[in-house]
Point group: C2
Chain length 143, copies 2
DNA sequence: AAAGTGGGTTGGGTATTCCAACTAACGCTC
DNA sequence: GAGCGTTAGTTGGAATACCCAACCCACTTT
């Protein structure tokens, strides 16, 4: 019986983006919102917590804090490459929420460059087939 | 300026699975672990919190608590259809963690039924193309 | 009869979060 | 040039959540 928790990239990922408000702040930045006050009111996070979360995201390398005005000093938060790579996670989570939590129509709609409304599908990179739980098998995991 | 937070399926989803330990408990159940004690030690969650989380997941319809033995009473947690549907979120999150957080080799490896190691890819359901941030455009969102 | 297993609950202390108010640096307007 | 507004936070105290060890209960095993 392992006394120690399992080592796992899900746990590691949640160590960076798993705290309350973090994913909502990132959602806002994906939406194109860049300013502190707007992120605060669009998410509902209190300002002190939001400041802490944004600092951590900058420290973790998911965001960059850029000064876009010197007088008065004004900042904006922009996604780095690792931060941008989270769009698949947000999209997949949003889709699950649309299907299984939100009542009624999806509150947020994205369009893909192909012209259609964007619904994400998770496929196997090797064969291109849609991934179903019955088709995946655990090969190796830490004890 | 909206005083109220944005309505959004990401927020709604996080209302169900966004608390600490919840996704790790679900990960264990995806791994095939069914018993309370094992979930507790594999995640590192304290027993009282884990009990609260599992109760909420059952109440939310993601898990079913099944008695598989009467004497002594023994229970197991099994995923319902909405719960199983989360596998894409877990996989996508794990992949992001493998690439951007975990140092060294991925601690957990899944195999797809096609025979290859499973790496998830998020594609547009309509056209089948890999989704990149530059190819998605926000059409409608709540204020 | 004592120890072990599985699935929790309880009590008490610690850590986080929430909220309103405050600072600070400027710009705008009358 | 005094006051108001904007942006980006910080501070202090109260409320909430979390952690941990110990305990309970119903059995089974030795």
């Amino acid at each position: 019986m392992p006394t120690h928790p399992r080592e796992c990239s899900i746990a590691n990922a949640l160590g960076v983006i798993g705290e309350r408000w973090t994913l909502l702040a990132l959602r806002e930045i994906f939406f194109g919102v860049r300013r502190f006050d707007q992120i605060a009111s669009n998410t509902g996070a209190s300002r002190d917590i939001l400041a802490t979360r944004l600092r951590k995201l900058v420290d973790s390398g998911l965001l960059e804090k850029r000064q876009y005005e010197e007088h008065p000093p004004r900042y904006e938060y922009v996604l780095t490459e690792p931060g941008r790579a989270l769009h698949t996670v947000l999209l997949t989570l949003m889709d699950w929420g649309d299907r299984h939590v939100t009542q009624g129509a999806p509150p947020t709609v994205w369009e893909h460059s192909c012209g259609e409304v964007l619904h994400p599908r998770t496929v196997c990179e090797a064969c291109g087939e849609t991934v179903h739980t019955r088709d995946m098998r655990l090969v190796r995991a830490s004890e």
